[in-house]
């Protein structure tokens, strides 16, 4: 075989590998370290960029054990920016972009779940229009779905379109109204 043919074969193998890996991991919820609890940028529309960067790279878990009680939880902040309120029990915070087809499938699933489960709200944010929030939460791909607890702290997240069962399972992990939920992760 020529070099070109070998490269063609390698490209096909790489594609199949990447595609299957994506299909397997899409929609799977992974718990996040307490980054969400640390992300509280305080109230207001102009959080310091340095602070956001700090959040994005994650903080030492010891530092985030005791978040300042006065801070607005980051999820609540994002919801407020787009004019929504957090769900009493949990919020499904979806980062979307105008172009992504799986975002629409995700929206349907999350709307469905929020209708089904009392106290659960679906909030959709356009990642491109809210780049501050996109950075604060470290969003790399759309759709990304974050499950926030009642206070707006992140419990878990999934990139790619999740199934309804995956969302319901993730919701079951949300601790019931517990102010110091951020210490356990």
């Amino acid at each position: 075989m020529t070099t070109g043919a070998w490269i063609a074969v390698a490209a096909v193998v790489l594609t199949v590998g990447l595609g299957l890996w994506r299909n397997a991991t899409d929609g799977r919820f992974r718990p996040r370290r307490a980054v969400g609890a640390a992300a509280a940028p305080g109230a207001g529309d102009s959080p310091a960029p340095a602070h956001l960067r700090e959040v994005e790279h994650g903080k030492d878990p010891d530092d985030v054990a005791a978040p300042p009680p006065a801070d607005v939880p980051p999820g609540a902040d994002v919801a407020a920016v787009v004019g929504q309120q957090l769900g009493e029990r949990a919020t499904l915070l979806q980062f979307s972009s105008a172009f992504c087809a799986p975002c629409r499938a995700t929206r349907r699933v999350l709307e469905d779940v929020s209708r089904l489960v009392p106290g659960v709200t679906h909030v959709e944010v356009d990642a491109e229009q809210h780049l501050d929030a996109t950075r604060a939460f470290g969003i790399l791909r759309t759709p990304t779905t974050l499950v926030l607890d009642g206070s707006g702290a992140e419990v878990t997240r999934a990139t790619g379109a999740p199934t309804r069962d995956q969302v319901l399972t993730a919701l079951a992990r949300v601790p019931s109204q517990d102010p110091d939920a951020s210490t356990t992760s």
Partner: protein, 160 residues
């Protein structure tokens, strides 16, 4: 309770301004994959000619919009009339951006082939082939995902 922060036109019926049929870019990616495969398999003068043609198609898509590639034309005239209307419409900017990324790889490949660095050129074509195949077979648009990352990165530079 369901709330949607950014209302956009609902799926189905109405076509948003500039919206494109998402099956178009996917079919175009399949055709592009075939062209790029042929570039890798054909002997010397033909691979350069074909890659130059594909670079031209990428350039047209990047500069004049995704609808302006030969692949999109084939979809519009041969395939689309035989299909039901799509259930969703898609924004044209990200696939257009992806065309620009494809153009970058095609140009690197073309220059390398012309300069005699055959393997370098073929690797560049191979990477473009991966992106095109991923789009065609799995509906994954790497260029589209890069779009958000680049928006993030450039906006950060402006902000700080």
């Amino acid at each position: 309770m369901t709330t949607t922060a950014t209302p956009r036109s609902a799926a189905g019926a109405s076509r948003p301004d500039g919206g494109i049929d998402p099956r178009g870019p996917q079919l175009a990616a399949a055709l592009t994959s075939v062209v790029l495969l042929a570039v890798l398999l054909l002997p010397s003068p033909y691979d350069v000619v074909l890659l130059a043609a594909q670079a031209g198609a990428f350039a047209s898509g990047a500069v004049r919009g995704v609808q302006a590639t030969p692949q999109a034309w084939l979809f519009r005239t041969l395939v689309r009339p035989r299909l039901a209307p799509p259930s969703e419409w898609e924004a044209p900017e990200p696939p257009r951006f992806a065309q620009a990324v494809g153009l970058g790889f095609a140009l690197v490949g073309l220059l390398a082939l012309l300069a005699g660095a055959t393997v370098v050129g073929q690797v560049a074509v191979g990477l473009a082939l991966v992106a095109a195949l991923l789009n065609a077979a799995f509906g994954l648009c790497l260029g589209c995902e890069a779009y958000l990352l680049i928006r993030r990165a450039t906006a950060r530079r402006i902000a700080s």
